[in-house]
Subunit: 239 residues, 4 copies
């Protein structure tokens, strides 16, 4: 485990982007799974001008690692829509290098990744509840590969927000790479910023490995880098 403590969200974003670029510059096909959400917003803003229109990144293939489908429509799901908006569209990544995970193909996602050579790197955020990807507490189990997670009454409100407030679009399940699927990536990067993440970062990486904090399992990966701003790192022990 390597910890990188940066001074600010801006610097965290730069350092995370540089990690991705380090993989992307390799002279071989590179498979990356990258995260949507708030944490990566600035990183994508920084990366877009560095990636857009650059033929030397034609070797890079993108995968999303979870998806919240809109019920009863053919629209693209929440995750891939967010990724498209914040990165794929402004960076002009062609569709053939974007490998969508969704409610129709999640059962073959692990086999497809394996056939494609496996993930070189997966970039993850961490939720204040310790979740990563769609692995919320009390949803998936450690040995789950890519799975569907049924919607529970407790989740309904969150999912309602994710689908834009239209109750008819709340799906009956979402899909996610489970802990076992994520752990198969050759390298993991997790990043977090802000004081509201400090407690969970401490628990996830310096506490016990427990189902109550799903991301604590990532401690076991032989090649994980955790990139934090100083606020998110503020409760860590000295090291």
């Amino acid at each position: 485990m390597k910890f990188i403590i940066t001074d600010s969200y801006e610097e965290m974003s730069t350092v995370a982007g540089q990690h991705l670029l380090g993989y992307m510059y390799q002279n071989k096909r590179v498979n990356m799974s990258i995260t949507a959400g708030n944490t990566p917003m600035r990183m994508y803003e920084q990366l877009v001008p560095q990636v857009k229109g650059k033929p030397y990144f034609d070797n890079v293939h993108y995968y999303n690692f979870d998806e919240i489908p809109f019920k009863g429509t053919n629209e693209l799901g929440v995750t891939i829509s967010n990724l498209a908006k914040s990165f794929f569209r402004p960076a002009e990544i062609p569709e053939e290098r974007i490998h969508v995970l969704d409610e129709n193909n999640y059962e073959t996602h692990d086999a497809r990744l394996k056939a494609d050579g496996g993930l070189d790197v997966i970039l993850l955020g961490i939720g204040a509840d310790g979740h990563f990807c769609g692995n919320l507490p009390n949803t998936t189990q450690v040995h789950d590969e890519t799975v569907a997670v049924p919607t529970t009454p407790e989740m309904r409100e969150v999912l309602l927000g994710e689908v834009g407030g239209d109750a008819t679009k709340v799906p009956d399940f979402y899909v996610t790479m489970g802990p076992k699927a994520v752990m198969q990536a050759r390298n993991i990067i997790m990043f977090a910023n802000g004081k509201h993440k400090a407690e969970i970062v401490k628990q996830a990486f310096f506490g016990e490995i427990t189902n109550a904090i799903p991301s604590s399992i990532l401690q076991l990966h032989p090649s994980i880098t955790v990139i934090l701003d100083k606020d998110a790192a503020s409760l860590l022990p000295e090291f």
Copy 2:
């Protein structure tokens, strides 16, 4: 996870040895942690003439991953004594490339491994109870690095056997790399032979990840190879 099903204990031994040799032939320092016990006996017999007196293996460093000390003596512990007898002595490995883990240095073992560049590969057996290294059910926890495990009344008989039947030599604790320490190795090889291992192999690698079967956690490693004879593989699902 890669599974290799061989026809016999003889072939399992050959294939496991070839895996080690594949690492050993690299033109760089190679750190390996290898197992004592019954499973590797034939592998070591095959390896000894291939390793003894070969200057091109001077790059290989050996570590033991657990130890049962003899109480009240200065003798070498059970594990390192077994390794010395079955491999280090007949293969004439010089002491400076044998890095002993014991009751005196276990607290610095993880830091030493890190300073030495980490383990390139760890070779593990599996117990009929699902244990690996000294991680017996209900002893270590998943997040344990290298730790001391206190002797419990239930263990006493096994430990008595290990120390040769002299009750005064049963130690108050043994030491072992815990699950988290083992998972840091860049590559893991596990091997097993015999019908008596078939059920636990199935449970460990095709069942749930559970504390009741310590080696089930190894499913999460991104680079693990499981080498079995056909008896140990006889209960696996087709694949």
Copy 3:
């Protein structure tokens, strides 16, 4: 450069085969280019029973690195025929994992290798004249990738022997990966045995890099292993 000096042709064959197995056991597609000729005969005899019928080697793809076509026929060329006889057929390697280089496709060989992910390893012999693959003295140039080499009067007799003595089958050219193409492999293994190779091995690896000894260029590769029996190594300086 790593040198491995073995006691005999038998041991040289075993060690070379173990090197190949070390690559083959990886849990990913592995691209290997392997040599025909006399040097590897015993190695293939040893490998055949270890490879035949083993599904865990389904990840391995084979390429030949040179070819002498039979003129005026549709027969397979000399190199691939020899490889088929000594290894592919007895080891029952399916055709879809054998990627033939021949007089029809040599111009696209480098692009195909690149698209397939490049060679993980290339196994080479060395001629008494210092040639490797079809890079005889005064044929290819260092910057040649895969090329056709026109038949010269001096070569005719050798080629006549290669095609079995029928003068009508001597081709107008043969094809080979040139020095630049070979050097693109991530790893190179060269092996040699016998006193008749001792002088050229010394010159190639401990002398000047010169066009007169084509294999001397291999000194420049960052990951090359040279496996010799003691006769072939008998003129090397102490090291």
Copy 4:
């Protein structure tokens, strides 16, 4: 060979620095050999604030690959002085991670690099005459490892400039990693900018490999990346 064509010197500098950062972020000791001179000036300006005071780069060790000593003094040589000024001092790299090559230790430089684990990456510029490091046309030979190059009358003027115009300080020889030593690095990065480099870049990477253009030998490396601004790339064939 991977080519990266950037729009400007500024972007070339950013991309080259990102390549170095990609290596530096690894969770292991990283050995880099980096270049002095004009080409990297902006790259170092960009890197300094990213490296200065960052404990997560404590794993990075720096080596210089050539040196022009000042005759008759104990001063640090030209190369290491320039590196210190442009990078080591402003980035506050501690001395124990700066491994100086000079007139006193060049004969053991290759052995030291090997003992330290070899170079992960070497960053090179290219001279308008095709030189890299101190490998000027008609000085070193392809098979040279780290060597001393005697001062010739033709070099005297250049060297006089390098030592600041004081004729008494022109050394009798300078030292450099030769082509064979450079080629041992696991990865090579070469960068160039400006129209005055366009012709030599074309010749070095798309022409014959010849002693007249020392850097043309780098075509043979299995992992080289060439980073250019559009001016330096202006004469390259379409690809």
